[in-house]
């Protein structure tokens, strides 16, 4: 446990990662797992596009196609985009606020393993009799009718992963509320921290409805309840509401941290303070708040009545205002600055017009009568990929380049990075721009094929070609990562030269205890202030060097999750008469989980201290 532990064996490294509670290592775990799922989701996307490349194609069958789109949507949203954002939130936020770690390191690890094994659980459905096939929205009439275990995998897998997300969300909130360094008032927090905070609050309130909805689904399918069975008094519209009360805030859970990432990148490479900081904060909160008032815009055609539709239409449109504030603030940050187009900045620049284009189509859909035409057509697919790929995926790619030095003390290759951008960006617009017109021309979404000569052929082909461009982009990025890990040189502190916030001030490689002394925050963009005042150390300190208290590593989170994983299988197969072992699995699994919890609460885990002398000797990082 000392900071001088050198060169570990492979096994020891694995064990280290299985038991780690260090936010920086958990960030790396999130990055790896998220990338894995992103590639899986991306391959599924490619299969979709190949199938739709020409009319009457039989590359995949109808049933399989539905499984693919369901898994594509579910994987991308829950298992790729969110964890990748969590990776950067974990890596950056504690450093930005000058904290030693998150508030509950143990729960941080638990959250990760829940997400990871939940994702594995969901994806195992491919091998165990078929994936879910009712769309990522899993509307109840169809998801109750769907045969096989696909939907059960969806419900149980998301339940496990969702619990992880909820835990991580609470963890971030407490971290940000309680662990800020002295001087870091709320209105001095960097925007990445602010957006993490608000997104976590959205998680807190959005995930419970999903949890309950999934329980209803599980109960209906496995334990004989009747929430959605209309012959028994149930009502499928309840599922739709629950799903979207979760689902709409979910898209802001994704996009707010992405906004945060851009709000960090743009000031650095414009070498200028973020314009309108307080209005950015205000807009973030407002978007979060409004995000809960608009869910029914996904249900305009359900027949909720004119009044409900009108109210939700207006509420939805209102979100354009705070989002617009953000866009114009970014533009004004660039205005009058000194813009250097590095790879992260390139992504940020690509983001602005792309996201605005996606956002305004959202507002078009918000006009309920127009949405009667657009709903469930490819126009919707175009809209949400514009905001998701143009907003979130570009942010993730930008952050990968931007924060790589913080996570790995290396710089990704800039030239290759720019080439990646060109492929990905062109591919993105090629794929999705044309889908607006496919939708308007009468192509519904979630169709595994379409008839020839209905005017849809060429556009679909173009869209598919675009997807291949994106794939090339992603592959280039992977190559870049591999090259960098083999040949990259340590890059040291503040490699971009214009870092403004605390995470750039910390020496590289970052010691496992983060800050040797808690920093003193003297204003917004602390590091910039110190630099401007000629402080060579980059930080002022709030306290003298003294002992640091650290939490112990723990294997318990992993065990707890494995227990749930096993229990999940038990619950899932419980309905099959021919699988008597399922009950055993359920009980054993739960026993493992509860056993681990009891061990955890009976054993006093007080952590350990790094002593002052060791700290003084420690010149740099812990590698």
């Amino acid at each position: 446990m000392s900071s001088t532990a050198k060169k570990k064996g492979f096994g020891a490294t694995i064990w280290d990662y299985l038991t780690t509670v260090d936010h920086k290592k958990i960030a790396i775990l999130y990055l790896l797992a998220g990338t894995l799922f992103f590639v899986i989701g991306g391959i599924e996307a490619m299969l979709i596009r190949i199938q739709l490349a020409k009319p009457d194609n039989d590359f995949v069958s109808a049933g399989l196609f539905n499984e693919i789109i369901t898994m594509h949507g579910t994987t991308m949203i829950f298992l790729a985009a969110m964890p990748l954002l969590f990776a950067f939130m974990n890596a950056v936020v504690p450093l930005q606020i000058g904290a030693r770690d998150v508030a509950f390191p143990f729960l941080n690890s638990l959250g990760f393993w829940l997400f990871f094994w939940g994702g594995i659980f969901l994806n195992l459905s491919w091998f165990l009799g078929g994936a879910p096939d009712a769309g990522w929205t899993s509307y109840a009439s169809l998801s109750l009718a769907s045969a096989g275990h696909g939907i059960d995998f969806y419900a149980v897998g998301l339940q496990i992963a969702g619990a992880g997300t909820l835990i991580s969300g609470i963890n971030f909130i407490v971290t940000i509320v309680n662990m800020r360094a002295p001087g870091m008032t709320f209105m001095r927090m960097p925007l990445m921290t602010w957006t993490t905070f608000i997104a976590s609050a959205l998680i807190l309130f959005a995930f419970p409805p999903l949890t309950i909805g999934l329980f209803f689904l599980i109960f209906d399918r496995m334990f004989g309840s009747n929430f959605f069975d209309h012959t028994m008094g149930g009502n499928t519209i309840i599922w739709e509401h629950l799903f979207w009360i979760f689902g709409h805030p979910e898209v802001y859970i994704l996009v707010l941290p992405a906004f945060g990432i851009y709000s960090e990148i743009i000031p650095v490479f414009a070498r200028k303070r973020l314009f309108g900081y307080s209005s950015m904060v205000f807009a973030t909160i407002l978007i979060g708040f409004l995000g809960f008032m608009v869910w029914a815009h996904h249900m305009f055609t359900v027949g909720l009545g004119a009044t409900a539709n009108a109210i939700f239409a207006i509420a939805t449109m209102a979100i354009a205002v705070p989002t617009g504030m953000k866009v114009f603030n970014w533009l004004c940050t660039m205005w009058g600055g000194s813009i250097k187009v590095t790879t992260p900045m390139l992504y940020a620049l690509g983001f602005i017009p792309s996201f605005v284009a996606g956002g305004v189509t959202g507002v078009m859909q918000a006009a309920a009568p127009v949405d009667y035409q657009l709903h469930d057509s490819y126009f919707i697919v175009a809209h949400f990929h514009y905001v998701i790929v143009g907003g979130i995926v570009l942010a993730l790619l930008a952050a990968t380049h931007f924060y790589w030095p913080i996570m790995f003390n290396r710089m990704l290759n800039e030239t290759l990075g720019k080439i990646t951008f060109v492929f990905f960006f062109i591919g993105f617009h090629l794929t999705f721009f044309i889908q607006h017109f496919l939708g308007l021309m009468g192509m519904p979404r979630r169709v595994f094929t379409y008839l020839p000569n209905q005017g849809l052929d060429t556009f679909n082909l173009i869209s598919t070609v675009g997807a291949f461009f994106m794939a090339i982009g992603v592959i280039l990025l992977v190559i870049n990562v591999i090259i960098t890990s083999i040949k990259g040189q340590p890059c040291g502190r503040d490699p971009w030269g214009d870092g403004r916030t605390l995470e750039w001030a910390i020496p590289q490689p970052i010691p496992f205890y983060n800050f040797k002394q808690t920093p003193l925050v003297r204003g917004l963009d602390t590091y910039w202030i110190e630099k401007m005042e000629g402080n060579k150390e980059g930080m002022s300190y709030a306290e003298p060097i003294s002992d640091i208290h650290m939490p112990n590593n723990s294997f318990i989170p992993f065990v707890m999750v494995i227990g749930l994983f096993v229990a999940g299988f038990g619950a899932l197969y419980n309905q099959d008469a021919d699988k008597p072992w399922s009950l055993v699995a359920l009980i054993v699994g739960l026993a493992i989980t509860f056993g681990a919890m009891i061990v955890r609460s009976l054993k006093d885990d007080l952590g350990y201290h790094i002593h002052k002398e060791d700290l003084l000797n420690d010149k740099g990082g812990n590698e």
Binding site: A103, F104, L166, I170, N171, I173, V174, V177, N178, M179, L204, F205, F207, P208, P209, T211, I212, G213, F215, F216, F219, F223, G224, S225, N226, F227, D229, T231, M232, G233, G234, N235, I238, L242, I598, S601, L602, D604, L606
Partner: protein, 208 residues
Amino acid sequence: MNLKSKFTPQSWPEHPELSTAEGKNKVVGFWIFLGGETVLFATLFATFLALKNKGPSGMEFTTQNLFELPLAFIMTMLLLTSSLTSVYAMYHMKNYNFKGMQAWLAITVLLGLGFLGLEIYEFTHYVHEGFTFSQSAFGSSFYTLVGTHGLHVVIGLAWIVLLMVRNAGRGLNLYNAPKYFIASLYWHFIDVVWVFIFTVVYLMGVIK
């Protein structure tokens, strides 16, 4: 922090649950968790309200002919009182009176067990009458709402008992004080939810 450091009532801090960084995190974190729980229960209430009295055509069960107020009243009294007793327990915790705290917690647990017993009695009674979880959408939503609350009671009881047993030999310290404190928060929250259950489910249920 040192487990062994001994306190006297004088040196025991006024807010023991907040006087360590871990304690602060726990308390704030737990409150935030309760914010989430609020939404979780709201979901169940909303579903119950939407599915109340809905069932297969010709269903005989309604809130009016099912629920009995006297039982609900007794359950309410038990739970409300247990809320007060846990306030007493926290009062003693802040006074560094370990025995007093444990004693009041024990009373709390007994009251909770009483509540639980009545609830089990109520459920079995309904099941005997034929009103089951899978009998109708109404049944599903009723048992899920009230049952989830019941599950919270079970967890709360188990939690408090575990704390009492675990710390019986070691007394109060700054490591376990926050744990006691949030367990009592949890218990109050269970009571808060029950207030809405007896109002929305039982009282509003029997109104003609």
